[in-house]
């Protein structure tokens, strides 16, 4: 190798190394004097504080709602046991005859269990779909599974505007702060005329911009970490799962690095401060606003949901049909399920025997139609999972939802578990019904209970790594392409 080249290489290298601490100090002083650091700290604290507070009040309400529902069930259970006790002792009771809990159907309909979806420790991070869906339902024996209403009673205006949560600050606002913090790194030097001075230094312009941006990234990362830490301490989120906090932080930093990388490119390739800002804002609009809405629109055009009104008509027809053939259905049902009536000696049949048998038939007949909705939703989700990489904003929002346990997949998972539980509940009590057995105090303890198990697969780590790679690729691209065009002269235009 040419010794002259080697010498120059090591010389340049040394200068860069000595430049770094100098730049580091200079940059910090500059940021402090221009009050950027102070302004950013206050802004970050306010934004993180307000959003975390909002998130945690929502979670608190959710927990309270669930525990008061459970408490209420406990109270009515006590009343039920008392009533059972009186009936078993042959005393006269004042309740309406069809609500007396010796009948298994009365237990199944008037004393349902709470099937609740407890919040994950990080639920405050992102509202996700939490304002749209309910967090507890009480499935009854005679209710239709697909008619269980999983949507929450919320003002639709609230759903339209969305929530000011931590995810909103990270996904929407943090990039804008970065844009305001970086759009004129190079152009302001040009506009103030100090670029010529800089060009005379033994460091290439792209390296200089890179150093400057990386230092700003470093300071912003410190500010973000510290203010998140302070906010979490002050708001006092309990039982924080530190691994999740670390993944939240990692994801946020990778997303920030992505925007810094974009700012790096824009600083290199566009010239004036105002044009830089316009370009960066355009990128923001494309990534944060346009891509998600276009993707959503195409997802629902490619995999349209079948009309719910058609589902209603189908359900009504099947039900009408089943009502007409109730007796026949019951006979077939008992032939198919002899296990239900194994200990029944009376063979007496009433309304509920027929009704529950027909319900089962209707449910089985409607399964393919109901399944269609789930399939289409699955397909839409699959599609958006694949194409989310078009916009890091979607990736981050989805990852935060997963971290918070408020993504669409989480609610799907909950819905599946509830429907499974409803089936368990029904089967448990139907066995009493077809055996013509009464429900007694001893049977109380063996009533099925619902416990929600969280979705365990989350790919926050994977998303962070991919974001990091995208950011690195952008930075390398900037170095490579600008390196070529540099020879033409940075100062000429």
């Amino acid at each position: 190798m040419d010794p002259a080249f080697l010498w120059r290489f090591s010389y340049n290298h040394k200068i860069h190394l000595t430049m770094l601490p100098y730049n580091f100090k200079y940059e910090l002083r500059l940021l402090l004097r221009s009050r950027w650091i102070q302004l950013l700290s206050v802004l970050l604290l306010v934004l993180f504080g307000f959003s975390t507070y909002n998130g945690s009040t929502k979670v608190e309400k959710r927990t309270n709602d669930i525990s008061s529902a459970k408490k209420e069930v406990e109270e009515t259970d006590q009343a039920m046991l008392k009533l059972l006790d009186s009936v078993e002792r042959g005393m006269e009771v004042s309740a309406s005859p069809w609500t007396i809990p010796t009948s298994p159907m009365a237990v199944g309909n008037y004393h349902p269990r709470v099937a609740a979806m407890e919040p994950k420790p990080m639920a405050f991070v992102s509202t996700g779909q939490a304002d749209l869906f309910t967090h507890y339902v009480k499935p009854t024996v005679s209710g239709d599974d697909f008619a269980l209403n999983f949507t929450e009673m919320t003002s639709p205006v609230q759903l339209l505007f969305g929530s000011f949560d931590l995810a909103f600050v990270i996904v929407y606002l943090l990039p804008l702060l970065i844009i305001a913090f970086t759009y004129n790194v190079l152009s302001s030097e040009k506009e103030q005329g100090s670029l010529r001075l800089l060009a005379s230094q033994p460091i290439s312009v792209r390296k200089w911009v890179f150093q400057k941006l990386i230092l700003r990234f470093f300071w912003l990362s410190i500010l973000v970490t510290l203010s998140l830490y302070i906010v979490f301490l002050v708001v006092g989120i309990q039982a924080l799962d530190w691994l999740s906090v670390l993944s939240l932080l990692g994801l946020t930093l990778c997303y920030m690095l992505f925007w810094f990388a974009l700012a790096f490119l824009v600083n290199l390739f566009v010239d004036s401060s105002a044009k830089n800002a316009v370009s960066l804002i355009m990128l923001w609009v494309i990534f944060v606003l346009l891509t998600p809405s276009v993707l959503n629109q195409t997802a629902s055009t490619l995999y349209p949901m079948p009309s719910r009104t058609i589902l209603i008509s189908e359900m009504r027809e099947h039900k009408a049909e089943a009502t007409k053939k109730q007796d026949e259905i019951l006979d077939n049902f008992l032939r198919d399920h002899p296990e239900y009536a194994i200990n029944d000696s009376t063979q007496s049949r009433n309304f509920y025997h027929r009704y529950m048998a027909s319900q089962k038939i209707v449910k089985e007949e409607l399964e393919p139609i109901v399944g269609e909705y789930e399939d289409q939703l699955q397909k839409q989700q699959e599609w958006s999972r694949k194409l989310q990489w078009l916009s890091p904003a979607i990736v981050v929002q989805e990852s935060l939802n997963q971290l918070a346990g408020t993504s669409t997949a989480d609610y799907e998972n909950y819905r599946r578990q509830v429907i499974e539980f409803a089936e368990t509940w029904r089967t448990h009590l139907i066995t009493f019904l077809y055996n013509n057995a009464t429900f007694s105090q001893q049977d109380y303890a063996s009533l099925p209970q619902f416990t929600y198990s969280n979705n365990t697969n989350n790919n926050v780590g994977f998303s962070s790594v991919v974001l990091l790679l995208i950011a690195a690729a952008l930075l390398i691209f900037g170095f490579a392409v600008q390196g070529r065009s540099e020879k033409k002269g940075m100062l000429s235009h």
Binding site: F50, T57, K58, D65, A69, E72, G128, Q129, T134, A147, F150, T151, M153, T154, S155, P156, V157, Q158, L159, L160, F161, G162, S163, F164, F168, Y172, L173, L176, A180, S188, S273, A274, N276, A277, V278, I281, P292, S293, V294, L295, N296, Q297, A299, S300, M305, S307, R308, T309, I312, S313, R316, E317, A320, L377, Q381, S384, I394, N401, S407, T408
Partner: protein, 468 residues
């Protein structure tokens, strides 16, 4: 002076390649949005027509049946899509579209579109209202942020001053040059929307008048944004800073304040959860008359009262079926309970909307959004109006069925069957959305706030021109 400034600025804008590109992009986006919405609109309306007639056929073909069985069997009220939802989808996506009308219960509208979509839906849709409310203000910012700062940066300001210009006339010239393309674009857009709408089949309640008022609201919104951006451009020293400041205003007004408002509204005036609501209704129902329970205290009281009124000593001697009569009384009682609980929800919401209105002081987006949804009949109160109409129809239906039961059978005759042709006599459910005038009256405060924004922002802008 005004005219000269106008002509000069317009030429400059027209020659600027970026302006043309930006306009082209916005036009293309809007075209796509309108096309998608029109398709959806047609599709949904078709489904609505089909579902409506299918449901009616099911109701009519019930055959011989006890009227109360038919009441439990129930029927559905479907919500139509209104023509102006083509322009503003409002909260349509978040409210249900069908209400199950049945005995004893007022059911909530079911099946909102948002519940059937992925999390992506929460980012927003590519609909005309998204472009009108978010993107066009952004376009205004891009057109106008450097209007005054560039004169300062290029040094032309000194030149102009030496010419002895009247600052406010010059500013008005600039203002109108910037406003003109936005105005033309808005008018063209709304005329196209009107033509598309009048050419769609079954366009229902579409009126040009509503569309006209809607376009005025948006034009007012754009005037406010233009004023703010120009005000900032006058005050700022550099174009870059003017741009960043204007964008901050945009973010604050269109994204941050609405979201913060929704959080504050929820924590201050919360709704009960669906389960709590149902439990509260149930509690009230248990304390009152239950049409199915002849043994309760309230039933006995009603019995005594009716017997006394007719001067007979046995329910069998009454000229009507007392079972059905009690059922109807129970129904009326339950309807009152529902009215009470829904009234509470409405009160909570009206408190919430008071909060939205007070926050409209820092965000012109809020009054615009609410007015736009209201005029398009896609706001929350349009939904209330529909669900109340459905409830009225449900109550009337119950009376129709119970009356038939009461008049054509005697006490204890539960095996009574109404004729197969009886069901067809039930009048069909028909719903007419509120008239434009009524909507404008109920939303008068939003109109006032929007007007105040226009005047104040104009005032601030014009006063600042003095300091040039």
């Amino acid at each position: 002076m005004i005219v000269k400034a106008f002509i000069k600025e317009s030429k400059e804008l027209w020659r600027d390649g970026r302006v043309r590109v930006a306009f082209a992009i916005v036009t293309i986006l809007l075209g796509i949005a309108v096309w998608i919405s029109a398709r959806q609109y047609q599709h949904i309306n078709e489904q609505y027509q089909n579902a409506k007639s299918a449901e009616r056929a099911i109701w009519d073909d019930q055959g011989e049946k006890n009227p109360h069985s038919a009441a439990h069997y129930g029927t559905y009220a479907f919500k139509p899509k209104y023509p102006l939802s083509l322009v503003d989808q409002g909260v349509d996506k978040y409210v249900g579209t069908s209400i199950f009308l049945t005995a004893h219960n007022r059911n909530e509208a079911q099946f909102s579109a948002a519940a059937d979509q992925t999390g992506l839906a929460r980012f927003g849709d590519l609909t005309p209202d998204f472009i009108l409310l978010f993107i066009i203000p952004l376009l205004i910012i891009l057109l106008a942020y450097n209007s005054f700062t560039k004169e300062r940066e290029m040094g032309t300001l000194t030149l102009l001053k030496s010419q002895g210009i009247t600052p406010w006339k010059w500013a008005i010239g600039k203002w109108s040059a910037l406003f003109f393309p936005v105005l033309i674009a808005t008018i063209v857009l709304f005329v196209i929307a009107g033509i598309v709408l009048s050419n769609l089949k079954d366009f229902g309640v579409f009126r040009w008048q509503s569309l006209f008022i809607l376009s005025l609201v948006y034009i007012g919104y754009y005037i406010i944004f233009l004023n703010i951006v120009l005000f900032i451009s006058l005050k700022a020293k550099k174009s870059g800073i003017a741009l960043v400041l204007s964008l901050s205003v945009w973010i604050l007004a269109c994204l941050a304040v609405p979201k913060a408002a929704s959080n504050i509204a929820e924590s201050k005036h919360p709704y009960p959860t669906r389960q709590e609501f149902a439990a509260n209704v149930l509690k009230d129902k248990q304390n009152g008359l239950d049409g199915h329970n002849p043994w309760s205290k309230e039933s006995k009281m009603l019995e005594q009262q009716v017997l006394a009124e007719h001067g007979v000593d046995s329910l069998h001697k009454l000229p009507f079926n007392f079972d059905a009569y009690r059922m109807q009384k129970g129904e009326e009682h339950e309807a009152e309970i529902y009215a009470k609980h829904y009234k509470y929800l409405k009160e909570q919401y009206s408190k919430q909307s008071g909060l939205y209105q007070s926050l409209a002081i820092i965000s012109p987006y809020l009054p615009t959004r609410f007015l736009s949804m209201a005029i398009a009949r896609t706001d929350y109160s349009a939904h209330w109006d529909f669900s109340d109409a459905a409830e009225d129809y449900r109550i009337a239906t119950q009376k129709f069925l119970n009356d038939n039961f009461a008049q054509n059978s005697s006490y204890g005759e539960w095996d009574y069957r109404a004729n197969a042709n009886f069901w067809g006599k039930l009048p069909e459910f028909s719903y007419n959305p509120q008239e434009l005038n009524a909507i404008l009256t109920t939303n008068a405060s939003s109109l006032w706030i929007l007007g105040a924004w226009i005047l104040l922002s104009f005032g601030a802008f014009l006063i600042t021109t003095k300091s040039i």
